[in-house]
């Protein structure tokens, strides 16, 4: 089919016209083969300018459009839309930058004009090689799999569930609730965590759009955004359950760093050295001690030492919430055992935000002692425990205590590793699943369609975990609308079956895991749902099989050829 290219050169008021000799440009490009018409206009991005192009397209029966104006970053989409409205596939257009990168940066009018002509010639040559790429859509499932039935998983499920969006909540334990079940009090309002979670669970179980699978584990997840195939093992029945979802939320929670590996604290050797979770359990009404804070000998402690940052040096991060929940412990202790002497041994207080300093000051007012210690050790002394500490100035001292509560670092739960492997999500060196972008996409994992929330993402408070669950819900609700197809990026990569050698280099370099290997045909295949169009595969491919649509070698070569003429 004969090509008929319309070339439109924008004056941009005087921005381009005062430097570039537009008449000369028009004269230079008009004779080029396939250029049907070359015109100038005062301001092409204005309503008048856009109409002008549309009318010209109709009048001349154009097949391709080249606009010479400002940067494509400003108006590529504008002129693509004009083409579409005029009946031309928007990909059959090209915008030559003769303003920001020509008229505005070249003081010599002669040089600016020559440069403009070069860039427009390049655009004309290139556009002839453009393909009329079509928009693609895929059907997606709006349903969601939530892994982990703690507070984060529960909140995400509640927010996502709807008559046209089913949520599958998979929990490996026999009941829901996670860690919050064990918290008799929450900071800062000192309300019951177990009551909170009980209410949430009840409300969740009433929700007809949530299928709860307890005592179950996810065995396999295949697929990609919009189309994940999930296999769950129901341990109690020994059965398999399979279903499809569009997105996955990982809410596998945390475990505490095991202080047994740190002999200086005596955990596991000395009596009455507890971790924070053990202390929490002591306070649950139906817990091992009936809710009473007791030493091994059955008596209540008269003094308690709380040691911060246990394992911080080994893990190399601050677990964010331990200072805060330790102040909660102070209140719990004082409330149950009025007159108990509590001392904290800490390095830096981490109390960020508008309310937490007040919470800390209230704790101090209760008579709780705070000792800044660079090195802390716990030893037995025959009658009880001795806490030895060294200040930052090298001064050494010690104090005796009945009970020690250690605040160990919070680690991602062991399941994170399993899912990292299953889903191909990298784990950072701290063991947490890596986000898509630490600042701008904190709850999206590096794999599209899979979200990580709560302590699986990083140590954080209940409030922050709930916010993250709501955030994941927000991203899923925004992207996967029931009944709406997912629109794909048009300028994606494709791999020629005949040219592909099966070397898999493209698979290695793809930042999005968008390329898979078809074992039967022994070739690489691009998943257009996941491809972002960066072109790394095209650059890496030794045989030229991988090409990035709209940025193919021939297309770029056309530009190259013209600018070097």
């Amino acid at each position: 089919m004969a090509k008929k290219i319309g070339v439109y050169v924008c004056e941009c008021g005087t921005n381009i016209a005062e430097k570039v000799d537009i008449d000369k440009v028009i004269a230079a490009v008009s004779p080029i083969k396939d250029v049907e018409v070359a015109e100038r206009h005062k301001l092409l991005c204005s309503d008048g300018g856009k109409e002008f192009i549309k009318q010209s397209i109709a009048e001349h029966g154009l097949t391709h459009v080249v606009v010479a104006a400002c940067s494509p970053k400003q108006h590529e989409v504008t002129f693509m839309n004009v083409c579409e409205q005029a009946g031309i596939n928007p990909q059959l257009s090209q915008l030559a930058n003769i303003r920001e990168q020509c008229a505005w940066v070249t003081s010599s009018a002669e040089e600016a004009t020559d440069k403009a002509i070069r860039q427009i010639r390049a655009a004309i040559s290139r556009v002839k090689y453009h393909a009329p790429l079509k928009k693609k859509e895929v059907v997606v499932s709006p349903d969601v799999l939530v892994i982990g039935g703690g507070i984060a998983g529960i909140k995400a499920s509640q927010l996502l569930a709807a008559p046209d969006r089913k949520v599958y909540l998979v929990e490996k334990a026999s009941s829901l609730g996670g860690k919050v079940k064990s918290f008799s009090k929450l900071f800062t309002n000192m309300e019951s965590g177990s009551s909170l979670i009980t209410q949430e669970i009840k409300s969740l179980l009433d929700n007809k759009n949530i299928e709860v699978l307890t005592e179950s584990e996810v065995e396999q997840i295949l697929g990609f955004l919009g189309n994940f195939e999930v296999k769950v093992i129901r341990k109690a029945e020994g059965k398999e359950q399979n279903f499809n979802v569009g997105a996955v939320v990982l809410a596998t929670g945390f475990e505490l760093f095991d202080p047994k590996g740190l002999p200086q604290y005596g955990y596991g050797k000395l009596d009455d050295v507890y971790t924070s979770l053990e202390f929490e359990e002591m306070n649950i009404p139906d817990g091992p001690t009936g809710g009473k804070v007791l030493l091994k000998n059955g008596k209540p402690p008269e003094s308690v030492a709380i040691i911060h940052c246990v394992g911080r040096e080994e893990k190399d991060y601050c677990s964010k919430v331990c200072c805060l929940y330790s102040f909660k412990f102070d209140r719990m202790l004082q409330s149950q055992l009025p007159g108990v002497k509590v001392s904290h041994f800490y390095s830096d207080l981490c109390i960020p935000g508008k309310s937490f300093q007040k919470f800390y000051e209230g704790t101090k007012e209760m008579g709780v002692e705070f000792v800044r210690s660079a090195k802390t050790e716990v030893t037995g002394n025959g009658k009880g425990l001795t806490v030895k500490y060294e200040t930052e100035f090298g001064k050494q001292d010690s104090s005796t205590t009945d009970m020690v509560i250690l605040l160990p670092a919070m680690e991602s739960s062991g399941d994170a590793q399993k899912f990292a492997e299953m889903l191909n999500i990298p784990l950072d060196e701290k063991g947490f699943l890596v986000e898509e972008h630490q600042l701008l996409s904190p709850v999206s994992s590096a794999v599209e369609g899979i979200f990580v929330v709560g302590c699986a993402q990083g140590p954080q408070s209940i409030s922050e975990s709930i916010v993250q669950s709501e955030a994941a819900a927000g991203k899923i609700l925004s992207a996967l609308v029931p009944g709406r197809k997912l629109e794909l990026e048009v300028r994606v990569s494709e791999i020629s079956e005949s040219l592909c050698l099966g070397c898999k280099t493209c698979i290695d370099v793809c930042p999005y895991g968008a390329i898979t290997f078809d074992e039967t045909r022994r070739i690489s295949v691009v998943n257009e749902v996941l491809c972002h169009g960066c072109g790394n595969c095209a650059a890496a491919c030794p045989s030229g099989a991988a090409r990035l649509k709209h940025f193919t070698f021939p297309q770029i070569y056309q530009e190259l050829k013209e600018v070097l003429r």
Binding site: S71, N97, V509, I556, Y557, L560, L564
Partner: protein, 141 residues
Amino acid sequence: MEEGFTPKIVGFLCNWCSYAGADLAGATKLEVPSSLSVIRVMCSGRVDPVLVATALLHGADGVLVAGCHPGDCHYREGNYYARRRFALLKKTFETLGLDSDRLMLAWVSASEGQRFGEVTNEFANQIKKMGPNPMKTKNTL
């Protein structure tokens, strides 16, 4: 070195950082060598070493590849691959006795309009001093 020699320099700029930086140089009306012709790619990682070699063999006196600063790549890692390929290409050029100084890799962010001006002017001056590309005798268009 030839007097009055106007070099032809090709710049492959990535859409998200360096192309935007070049636009900013324009918005702030800095002087950028008119000998530079820009070809936009989505990512510096798209720049195949064959493209760069082709440019030089077809008459470019200098080739500039510019991308986002390491760590800032819009596509996460593309610029790391660009860096590796470029290093290998430079080495190949040296091994073949070709002038690898005609190749330049630069990181220019979207807010570095000034830097874009500096980098391109410096490169253009360097190429001018080096004279025309000796490879462009037979294959030049």
